[in-house]
Symmetry: D2
Amino acid sequence: MADKYKCAILGATGAVGQRFIQMLEGHPWFEVEALAASSRSAGKRYSEACKWMLEGDMPEEVARMKALDPANVKGADIAFSALPAEIAYDVEANLAKKIPVFSKAKSHRTDADVPVLVPEVNWEHMRLVDVQKKLRKTDGFITADPNCTTTQLLIALKPLEPYGIQSVIVTSMQALSGAGYPGVSGLDIEDNVLPFIRGEEEKVEYELNKVLGKLGKSSVTPAGIRVSASCNRVNVLDGHTECVVVGLRKSPGIGTIKKAMSQFKSKPQQLRLPTAPDQPLVVLNEECRPQPRKDRNRELGMSVTVGRVREDQVHSVKFVCVGHNTVRGAAGNGILNAEMFKALKVI
Amino acid sequence: MADKYKCAILGATGAVGQRFIQMLEGHPWFEVEALAASSRSAGKRYSEACKWMLEGDMPEEVARMKALDPANVKGADIAFSALPAEIAYDVEANLAKKIPVFSKAKSHRTDADVPVLVPEVNWEHMRLVDVQKKLRKTDGFITADPNCTTTQLLIALKPLEPYGIQSVIVTSMQALSGAGYPGVSGLDIEDNVLPFIRGEEEKVEYELNKVLGKLGKSSVTPAGIRVSASCNRVNVLDGHTECVVVGLRKSPGIGTIKKAMSQFKSKPQQLRLPTAPDQPLVVLNEECRPQPRKDRNRELGMSVTVGRVREDQVHSVKFVCVGHNTVRGAAGNGILNAEMFKALKVI
Amino acid sequence: MADKYKCAILGATGAVGQRFIQMLEGHPWFEVEALAASSRSAGKRYSEACKWMLEGDMPEEVARMKALDPANVKGADIAFSALPAEIAYDVEANLAKKIPVFSKAKSHRTDADVPVLVPEVNWEHMRLVDVQKKLRKTDGFITADPNCTTTQLLIALKPLEPYGIQSVIVTSMQALSGAGYPGVSGLDIEDNVLPFIRGEEEKVEYELNKVLGKLGKSSVTPAGIRVSASCNRVNVLDGHTECVVVGLRKSPGIGTIKKAMSQFKSKPQQLRLPTAPDQPLVVLNEECRPQPRKDRNRELGMSVTVGRVREDQVHSVKFVCVGHNTVRGAAGNGILNAEMFKALKVI
Amino acid sequence: MADKYKCAILGATGAVGQRFIQMLEGHPWFEVEALAASSRSAGKRYSEACKWMLEGDMPEEVARMKALDPANVKGADIAFSALPAEIAYDVEANLAKKIPVFSKAKSHRTDADVPVLVPEVNWEHMRLVDVQKKLRKTDGFITADPNCTTTQLLIALKPLEPYGIQSVIVTSMQALSGAGYPGVSGLDIEDNVLPFIRGEEEKVEYELNKVLGKLGKSSVTPAGIRVSASCNRVNVLDGHTECVVVGLRKSPGIGTIKKAMSQFKSKPQQLRLPTAPDQPLVVLNEECRPQPRKDRNRELGMSVTVGRVREDQVHSVKFVCVGHNTVRGAAGNGILNAEMFKALKVI
């Protein structure tokens, strides 16, 4: 199709980069035009530069492409970035002079003029890119995804917003793919739990408030929710599991909450975006669900699954949620963002 | 040694029963006299009745003993019970007519006249057995351990008691051995987390308050702490990991809390009981500790290891603790109980 | 579609039974009509009788069906059986009086008049059912699949037949799902290898020779290949990995062998059967492939993947093969058998 | 003790280096004097340079020592080396000018004048160091261990030598710690098998023949056994499992072989070396043993455990063996070597 947007994938060899490639295969609006990776990989064919970790084989047309240095990306209409934080800041800012950059890197999340977006949760924040373009005098712009742990949590929390979310206590059991590749050593995780993920708890606490915050003229006012996160790594390949306790100003009761969650739909569903799940939030009633292995791929990994919604003894309500961290929590969220910008003719 | 107490192990073939046998091998005060298991195993040699799961081989002298029906246990001075709940109630009550029964089963924990004991935490509650003996007109008595999740949590919380514990929010990542043998199917837990353990959350909420409660004339008044537990099974062999958020009436600050924890000693340490750890609570400062595989065997599994003690954004303090669920959380706690009763000449 | 064959699934709640249900969903020729399980499950809805282990949810129309006692199955045109061996013999023989039974159970594999079939390998043996029907005076018949370990091995060996297979030494690393559900305890397999699977090595040695044997008038003459199997259980969910050493009368060289393997096609491919893989045998050249997690689902689990094809220092050639044990090695092979019988108008 | 030998540990921060430190703690003859690691670690305290992977905490006195550049090691009487192959060759050769170097690195194994030693198997080869010292005009010398896979295999095979070993077909299922740290990514090994370990199969084939070879005047004549190895990585922390098929000139029968194995003792046992296991080879009769998790620590990891000894259908005999790859297969074997040299007054 002649008029598909040409996409550059930055950080194409990593765990999230591979998901971008997998999810863009056969995409109706976007096609992969350029692959950028570390300077070490630059110049090699993708099939040589990348150790493909996903099931099955890497798409053939991509295997043949050459990996570029991120600085040399040209000819793309938009870029998806899964660059390591240490190089993402400058590379993304440079590219954004010309084209829209949908970034999974954490580097720009705290910039006042960069929206952190989960399309179902705060699509209205996308207007912040207009401010950004004016301020930075760029043709393109940057949007950021929250980190994976926060993304799925936000989708689960959004239907509770009308009841006044005052506090969130979340304990995560996060999958290996969240640490990238090679990431966590088998010697560290086998028969073990790692009770610390650098920077993760701070990100949850900050990003949750930015995404649920109020969009002002040129920035977002954080929501002011007290958030306490305890982040752990467990021996699971994909899919983060989170035990969540929520304090509400006034709880409507468990029945109403479950109904609000399972009926939750938002802009991406109204727009029927290609990557949007029919049901962003699926509520299960089985006593031992959701489970990462069984629920992470619901709606191709774009749905968040919630279970064990029940009264809490200290705050208002508690539940468990599972989401696919490299799909819903990373590549899929970025693509959905781009689709929304296109559907609303912002790009 | 002629005057060692002769012990019966009830439920000898299970995960906890095996730990009792392992921990009593070479014990200075106690020796295994009788093994009781399900009626299916009764009459068989222990080596045939039991699939030994622990590292190394089963002790030879035990391997040769015959498994008895629990109803036929005779000649023991005391009994340790790891019976399944559905048969423990009657078997233990019967045996307690004659001899002390130190039980890991949940059956009698809610009896008003049965103390639920963690020697370092509420050793004074042991006096409740006098009430029990009078009421029940028995020569023996029953004491109960809390469930494994609560036991290690109680040891970690005890030093915080002076600061007024008001609420505890705990998310556990529990080991496979806590579900007994065969317990959890490999097909369920590989590459997965199970977010539900039947009855466990209720036990934590009830037992924590009973153990920290106030001993009255003939029963314990629960402590009145609001407790919220979320219990998960993860792919770890031994050692429960718990992320804990605590609300204190008045927090003394992290430094004081860490000091109180690492200096915590109690009755079993004063009495120098054979199975007592020198340090019931070890505080680590490394950013990614405790970990179940690396810390579960500290002091032969009798210490609880705490780490990541830090301010909490919603309540007062949060930390991670790891304990060996079948040692500190089961067999070891029961043996330590019996040692204390003997050292204080109650038995 | 009015003229789909109505199928009964025997042993419907187990690991293989669930695969049958999953693979028959939307099948163009077959539809599930009846579910039979143990007498314990009989009478319950399938959704209550079965703990669904596969990813995603169980098909809705199946969830609503009632599980029957195998003896009460009626109205089916054909049956697929994944019954436990101890009850399969009689149940299958009874059903086969009326309808064709495609069985994964081991019970009838050693019957002289029952063909053990891998459609790509020995489809000609299907004629044995005519003998069987005459001998047993039945309207239906029984065919058996080999066990999972042997099935994938046979597909990998078939292209080598022209070079005179004289000996096969196979060491398997088998997945958990091969032991059924709940099957292997997590406490046994975590951080471990189990070097024994009851009966498996004998099955490989016997069944390999029967499938590659010569069909005579009323039975199969075994092929006379010396087979040595060492079977191990490893901590993998699905997909058996096998290291194979083959002695050939005359080796044509590695290049020719790899070509023969990757070009291998057979009757199911010629007939374009719905479940037939385009390529029954895929040869990879990467140095560290095949791997069970990455290759087990090739062509929906129906292809066997081979790698590391190289000269052997003791015999002729060695290689590694991976196949999906509950798809290619069980349910999928049975369905492919039934498709072949239908396509060739035997049923 | 004033006259303990002062030891340098080269490659002290890695998986094998840590085992050297752990096994030398409290050793009666040897004490750690110097720790050498990569230039990146040089100058740091060991507690900072090393991520301790073993259970429990690192020994305190070692934690305080400074890591040196291997070129700067001084004042040691002997050295144990676990250096990466790429730097081991020169560093070891340099040190050996002055002191004995017991090396786990592969670099010098193929040198004609360097003995590859398993004390129980070919202790007589130690005389080769006299040749080496003359040829190289050094005061010290180098001895090498075989790789871990071969070491345990050699111990299992040695008692079969009288029956004429003609061929060995071995399929290994190797533990993660054999790949060093961080080594294998959790994303690669979880729910998976890796059927390739670079260089391993060639090492087994070469080293087995050198160790079982005949010592001549200035070199070893390889034994001439045809060896076929297939090496796999499985999700096990420690302990290699090997399925072995052996062709003997004349098999004495399974009973005799099992007896020969379980009665096997050699020089280290006669000399009662501190690290020598009482029984280098333990034969189990249980149908599902040995298992790496249950048997790897037998006699502190220095025994090899054998099971499933049975007739083979293609060659003579087959069995399974398990050994601790970083103890018996690495650090422990090196220490045992040094003990033997000391006991026999070669050092």
